[in-house]
């Protein structure tokens, strides 16, 4: 669990990439703790119950994490800018219900059209969040807590007691979460594509890097000439689009969509991002880490059941993981600050 360099002074200051330095870089990776935890969890569970990694078992693990992965990637974008979006569960619910409605009321509608419609609705809801946060300048926690209830209210008003079931949707749509390519269910492949695209965007593009700058220090970012409001809006918009995709895939995977679909999901998603090494105060973390955090949290549920551990322990374990992630993050931050102080003192 000690992913942070134990003695930062050891790392040669700006030397070439010696093997030791490379190792130090790997050890500093924020994704490392969650990766190790995931591997350990899967190994232990497999040894205790080999069925855990049967082909059906692996498929279930992947399917379970798919929707949370997509949501966690979007949430990571927002958290990196030192914001948070608590309305994702409600966005997912609205999109999932509209997906059910589309299939039920427009017979023969192509799946791609439904997916695009879901993304558009998600974008719209995400844009509302983004606008409120950037224009009203009220903390995102409050704004999105508000939209959480507004979106859920809309869903309640629209759906009422109506529910759409798997039988109302075309078989090909449901097959997205049944059929596999090289062992990966199709919707999981979509999730992995999302992770890859967003990860590349975050590492390789100017707006992607800007998000980190904004999260590290919004005022400095503004002084530096970064269009803070536009970038934050973009993060919320993207998060909405991703929640839209997740909503459509939810309708493919699960049986019923209705007024309460996705309730409470937002906390799982924030937890996944934090456990995956996305600092809750913004500025650091990666979407790959968030995705790994999502896999870890959903895998724990399955593992505990496969090990026949009492269900009530699960939440406690998730809580411990969140605390561990935050403590690791804090230690890393303190060390980095100390190291920076030392190196800058030396350079003077």
């Amino acid at each position: 669990m000690t992913a942070t360099p134990t003695r930062p002074a050891d790392a040669p200051p700006s030397a070439g990439p010696t093997p030791a330095a490379r190792l130090a870089t790997v050890l500093r990776l924020r994704e490392l703790p969650v990766t190790i935890a995931l591997i350990a969890l899967v190994t232990v569970t497999y040894l205790a119950n080999p069925l855990f990694l049967s082909s059906q078992g692996v498929k279930d693990l992947l399917l379970n994490s798919t929707i949370v992965i997509i949501l966690a990637v979007g949430q990571a974008l927002v958290i990196i800018t030192r914001n948070v979006d608590l309305s994702v569960g409600s966005i997912l619910g609205l999109v999932a219900f509209s997906t059910g409605t589309l299939f039920a009321t427009v017979p023969g509608i192509p799946i791609v059209v439904v997916l695009l419609a879901g993304m558009a609705l998600g974008a719209l809801l995400g844009a509302i969040n983004g606008l409120l946060v950037t224009v009203a300048k009220v903390p995102a926690l409050v704004i999105t807590l508000g939209t959480l209830y507004i979106y859920r209210g809309l869903n309640n008003a629209w759906a009422g007691g109506t529910q759409y079931f798997a039988g109302d949707r075309p078989d090909a749509f449901g097959a997205l979460s049944v059929d596999t390519v090289a062992g990966f269910p199709l919707i999981t492949l979509i999730a992995l594509l999302v992770v890859a695209v967003v990860a590349i965007y975050m590492v390789g593009t100017r707006p992607g890097r800007d998000l980190y700058a904004i999260g590290s220090d919004p005022d400095a970012a503004k002084l530096f000439g970064i269009p803070v409001a536009r970038r934050v809006f973009l993060a919320f918009l993207t998060n909405g689009v991703l929640a839209g995709i997740a909503g459509v895939l939810y309708a493919s995977r699960f049986n019923s969509v209705g007024a309460t679909t996705g309730t409470g999901l937002e906390l799982d998603v924030v937890a996944a991002a934090v456990v995956g090494g996305v600092a809750i105060f913004g500025g650091s973390g990666t979407v790959v880490g968030a995705a790994l955090g999502a896999i870890l949290l959903t895998t724990i549920t399955s593992a505990l059941t496969a090990l026949r551990v009492d269900k009530f322990w699960q939440q406690a374990i998730v809580g411990v993981l969140i605390l561990a992630a935050i403590i690791i993050d804090r230690i890393a931050a303190v060390r980095t600050a100390k190291k920076l102080r030392l190196s800058e003192a030396r350079d003077v």
């Binding site: 059906q56 529910q163 699960f254 049986n255």
Partner: protein
């Protein structure tokens, strides 16, 4: 902006749909009423019921389940010989929303009011007034406080619900093997009562001696959670032969999982489900039989109970009996409760006869 337009669009759609449903319902009622009236006129001599009127006040209109109950009620009212049948009620199931409808019925001098109370006490004073004006009160589906009504028509006996589930399971797994229960929340009153009866039956009935209940898990009536619980069950208990899910959410989620996994057809599933929700899984062979009460019978019996009360055949005292049309005799039990039961079993043969 776009969103708002969007919302208005669907909103209008819903309103139109509601209006249509409402019009259709009203038309149906009117038809039924005129049909009855004509009938009453035709067989005038026997028409002791033609001047009797019955009004159903459901929890709310436009609820698919309630529509089936009311459909049964209208049939029952016609067969019982009521001169006029009406369905009125609020669009939302709030505690006080039924009061104004009850008052209107009192003023209209309706003979029998059949009500599914949204709140056992909120409707009390209005019902008392209706009774003092001579109306008979039948509660159905959801009871009022006992002092406000003459009889309560209840779906089923808790024990019957438990017994039919274990019976169906035993049939499907050939009377032996490991089974598990996937319930709603850990503290759900209904489910826990049924599970208790299932456990007692497994212990005491020699027919079920070879069946072992290995675990009970809780999906919290949440689709996602129930889904994962079903997966976990199959991994944790490789020899599992069947799952009983005494909750409509749980059975549907489990069926969805089974039908998309390698366990389809290998692991039996039964419990309490809604035919509309379970239809695809019955058709694709994931589920062979499940149970629930038939909501139409609830309305049907309520109408006959209302007739018997209005005629003075019964007073709602324990031990009173009345004829409920084709369903035969029903007896008023303790606290004025009439049981419709037994639960109905749905299989591929009869599932298409039900729409709820």
């Amino acid at each position: 902006m776009e969103f708002i337009r969007n919302r208005t669009g669907t909103g209008t759609g819903t309103t139109v749909r509601r209006l249509l449903t409402f019009t259709a319902l009203t038309a149906a009622v009117a038809l039924a009423a005129t049909g009855c009236a004509a009938d009453g006129g035709g067989t005038a001599g026997a028409g002791d019921g033609s001047d009797l009127s019955i009004t159903f006040i459901p929890k709310q209109l436009n609820n698919p389940y309630t529509d089936v109950v009311l459909g049964g009620g209208e049939t029952g009212a016609e067969e019982a010989g009521f001169g006029a049948t009406e369905v009125v009620g609020p669009l939302e199931a709030s505690a006080s929303s039924q009061v104004s409808f009850i008052n209107a019925e009192t003023q209209a001098g309706t003979s029998v009011i059949v009500i599914a109370a949204n709140d056992p006490d909120a409707v009390g004073p209005a019902l008392e007034e209706a009774r003092s004006a001579g109306a008979k009160i039948v509660a159905f589906d959801s009871d009022t406080a006992p002092q406000y009504r003459d009889v309560f028509i209840s779906q089923v006996v808790a024990k019957d619900v438990a017994l039919i589930q274990i019976e169906l399971m035993s049939e499907q797994i050939g009377g032996s093997g490991e089974i598990a229960i996937l319930s709603a929340t850990a503290n759900a009153t209904n489910q826990n009562e049924w599970i208790k009866f299932i456990e007692e039956e497994l212990e005491s009935n020699p027919d079920y001696a070879d069946i072992t209940l290995v675990t009970k898990v809780y999906g919290d009536d949440d689709d996602t959670k129930s889904f994962q619980e079903a997966q976990g069950l199959l991994q944790a208990y490789p020899n599992l032969k069947g799952i009983i899910s005494p909750t409509t959410v749980g059975i549907a989620a489990t069926a969805r999982y089974l039908s998309t996994s390698q366990y389809k057809g290998q692991v039996a599933l039964t419990g309490l489900g809604l035919p509309n929700e379970m239809r695809p899984f019955v058709k694709d062979g994931t589920v062979s039989a499940f149970a629930l009460w038939d909501p139409a019978q609830l309305g049907y019996v309520a109408a006959f109970a209302g007739k018997a009360l209005a005629d003075g055949t019964i007073t709602g005292a324990e031990g009173d009996t009345f004829e409920a049309g084709e369903l035969g005799e029903r007896e008023v039990g303790a606290d004025g409760i009439v049981i419709v039961g037994p639960p109905t079993t749905f299989t591929s043969e009869n599932i298409d006869d039900y729409d709820f």
